[in-house]
């Protein structure tokens, strides 16, 4: 295989790593935000829950920002086509997400209960809505999105905003929300005590089981969906130009990769095994173990979508031949190579200091701790 093709596949895998990092870390925080009022019934309990991720939510959120930057750098055509096409959805995502920093930082600055309730609901929206949108966006990629290019490669999106919230996309959105609730619950269980811990255990179990049910339904649905197949002209080492290939929509095509390489069935199997084990671990009270199993569950879920769609990244339902694939949506060889270098150097460093930050802040967080610290949320 030529270097350029290898780099494209590497960056496709790295995009997966980024999405998994985003889903695990941001998903955990969003699950906690969405269920804040369930985990904590009193203000003291809620503040305790918020402060469990208080030192970490900002760092975690960088997975999302880096996601945007990395897609821009490595997959510029996807960045341009997806974010402009899904315009209103992107805005709802961003607007709901930007409530979060203020919710964390400002909520406990004033004693008024109505002030705090208002921010609680803000955190609810900014936890729930983004996770549904992440999942729904993934679902829409599986369905294909109506867009095409003109001769200058200006992209034109021809669908409506409402059509992005079709039943299949909503199912994917709920699946992603369920896993986020599971992940958040595992965190709250680990760092909470008493009633908060028990509520987290309950929600985590339901979140995990719900995710498995939705994953199964989604799987059968995908098998009947119209997938896409490249029939000619998409050279893996060719320039990133999406106009010179032919693609056909074929029912059930998203299972072709699994048919050709049965070993890929291990990827969805990973989701089942880790989430089932995770639910069991939650019931036994092994929250730390359950958290890592949840992360593996995300690896399986996002991996399954990737395995089904490869080499497609963003199929066009209105003009399939202009779909964006791993081979024709990437950056140039030089950019991919440089960015790979930066990634190899900095991602391990980031992982080391992130782990260190979690280790420094380890231990239980209770209402009493929060009262004692004047910097607490």
């Amino acid at each position: 295989m030529e270097l350029y093709a290898i780099l494209k596949v590497t960056w496709w895998l790295l995009l997966g790593v980024l999405l998994i990092g985003l889903a695990v870390m941001v998903g955990m925080d969003m699950g906690i935000g969405a269920a804040l009022r369930y985990f904590g019934r009193t203000d003291g309990e809620r503040r305790a829950v918020l402060n469990m991720i208080g030192p970490h939510w900002d760092g975690n959120q960088v997975w999302f920002i880096l996601g945007g930057g990395a897609v821009f750098a490595a997959w510029p055509t996807i960045y341009a086509t997806a974010f402009s096409g899904l315009y209103v959805v992107m805005l709802l995502l961003l607007w709901s997400m930007i409530i979060r920093p203020l919710g964390f930082e400002y909520r406990s600055k004033l004693p008024s209960p109505s002030w705090r309730n208002l921010w609680d609901w803000g955190l609810f929206v900014s936890g729930l809505l983004p996770m549904v949108i992440f999942g729904a966006a993934m679902g829409n990629m599986l369905l294909g999105v109506p867009f095409h290019f003109d001769w200058k490669l200006d992209s034109w999106y021809t669908g409506s905003f409402i059509s992005l919230f079709n039943p299949f996309a909503i199912l994917c959105g709920l699946m992603s929300l369920s896993l986020a609730l599971y992940q958040g619950s595992a965190m709250v269980m680990g760092r909470g005590e008493g009633a908060v811990r028990e509520r987290a255990r309950g929600l985590g179990v339901w979140g995990g089981l719900g995710a498995l049910v939705l994953f199964t339904v989604g799987g059968f649905w995908v098998a009947r969906l119209s997938g896409y197949v490249v029939t000619a002209g998409d050279d893996p080492a060719g320039p990133a130009m999406p106009l010179h290939k032919t693609v056909e929509a074929v029912q059930g095509a998203w299972l072709h990769n699994f048919g050709a390489h049965p070993v890929l069935w291990l990827v969805p199997a990973l989701t089942y095994v880790s989430i089932l084990l995770g639910v069991w671990a939650l019931r036994r009270g092994w929250s730390h173990f359950a958290w890592w199993l949840g992360a593996l569950g995300w690896v399986g879920t996002i991996g399954t979508v990737g395995a089904a769609m490869f080499p497609f990244m963003m199929p066009s339902s209105s003009d399939p031949s202009q779909s964006l694939t791993v081979w024709d949506a990437s950056s140039s060889q030089m950019t991919l190579l440089w960015m790979l270098g930066w990634t190899i150097v900095f991602v391990p460093i980031v992982l080391v200091y992130t782990s260190w930050a979690f280790w420094v802040m380890r231990g239980k967080v209770t209402a009493a701790h929060v009262e004692a610290d004047d910097h607490a949320y």
């Binding site: 203000d43 503040r47 402060n51 208080g54 030192p55 959120q61 960088v62 999302f64 920002i65 880096l66 945007g68 930057g69 990395a70 821009f72 750098a73 510029p76 960045y79 341009a80 974010f83 402009s84 315009y87 209103v88 961003l94 607007w95 930007i98 920093p101 203020l102 930082e105 004033l110 004693p111 001769w151 200058k152 490669l153 200006d154 999106y157 320039p239 990133a240 130009m241 106009l243 010179h244 950056s331 140039s332 030089m334 950019t335 960015m339 930066w342 990634t343 900095f346 991602v347 980031v350 200091y353 992130t354 930050a357 420094v360 802040m361 929060v370 009262e371 610290d373 004047d374 910097h375």
Partner: protein
Amino acid sequence: MHDLQTVLVLSRWQFAATALYHFLFVPLTLGMTFLLAAMETVYVTTGRQIYKDMARFWGKLFAINFALGVATGLTMEFQFGTNWSQYSRFVGDVFGAPLAIEGLMAFFLESTFVGLMFFGWDRMSRGKHLLITYMVALGSNLSALWILIANSFMQSPHGATFDPATMRLELTSFTDLIFSHDAQAKFVHTSIAGYVTAAMFVAGISGWYMLRNRHMELAKRSFRMAVLFGVFASIGVISLGDALGFIDGNAQPAKLAAMEAMWKTRPPPVGFNVIAFPSQKQQRNLFDIQIPRLLTPLVTRTMDTVIPGVDEVEKQAMVRMKDGIPAVLALKTLSADPTNLAALAQFRAHQQDMGYALLLERYAPDLTAVTPADYQRAARAVIPNVPVIFWSFRVMVLAGFVMLFYLGIATFCSMNNKVQERRWLLKIAPWLIPLPYIACEAGWLVAEMGRQPWTVYGVLPTWMSVSTQSVGYMVFSLAGFVLIYSAFIAVEAYLMFKFVRQGPDEGATAAPAH
């Protein structure tokens, strides 16, 4: 409805509004992290509690500001894709890289350690905590570095070339991209502007306390540190601004002509317009006050270099438009048939002026039949909005010198322990807090409006950069941003004023839960 002109105008308003808004919070973050680190350094080396109290009090105000900086930065990272998709596709291969590296190298660092900075006081040794505070400062400043490297590519594109096979700019030299002179000067100028902002902010609030005899120990020390930090920073920001003007003047003659309201090219040395009322329509100044012979040495460092005026810039643009037309026509052929060698040769021969022909295309959609009137209109469009840029520039420079003057006197008095006797110094301090903000916003206007009509200077015109959105979507998003951001800033200002009024002792702790 895909009305390109309306969508373009609304997209520009949205980008300007959200970027200017984001830039209300960023400068304070850039400078405050270093001031916090300085205060904590004194605490760690001397062990005196007052410096820890300082770091914690100013840290609280920093956090209120920081939350909005983070929130508004989030939307910026995606706005290129949502609203400027053609730009993103066209330059992503080059422009995306510094944005991604910013996240990887700088923003992770800043955001991970800012949590430990606030929550980790009792969890680690003093030295470790100090190191973390420095990491936050380093992270926020590195963040500015990568963002400004990206911005500098738009101002003076280096290290990339257009590839007809992919119809976009592709990276040819990573080192050319990051070591552009514009990037270096702009990074130092902008980050130091942040230091001045933090200095004026801390000095203003400390002065307010001192005037009321509140928190004297903390306020006196904070004031002294802030003005000392600020006086060096304001010298730096002015000299780097001067360097940037020199670099920009060479890279973007249209911007320079607009900044100085220079309509006609005149033999050197030409005078400097202190005040002018430029009329874009009549292409002359309705009124001006000039210092003779000053401009030429100011921007060229010589007495005999010709500075091109608006007339000369337009004339050169017209030549380049004409020369670029064959490149765009060849590109159309290549889009359908990438193997057409004749078209490729034609493209290569005229490639360097393609951007100008793309600009012309807005006024003459059919490039095979361009009239002299079309050229005329397109040439006019090469000149950015002169009155706005001329005045923004002067407001920025004036604000810079007023701050330098104030910080100089304040430092002198503070060092001689005479600040309390000079009550007027303390009285005006809080009223000067808006100055750095005005200067920062005006500076953004000069840099970004001065680059018009281009998103990438000379290469990609703004009108071609915008997404193919409908007018309805644009109205919706602009209205949403205005609504949400107005609510946000009201809340932020309320909290900021409240916590400043409460001061470090009584109000720092949130009230107990109910």
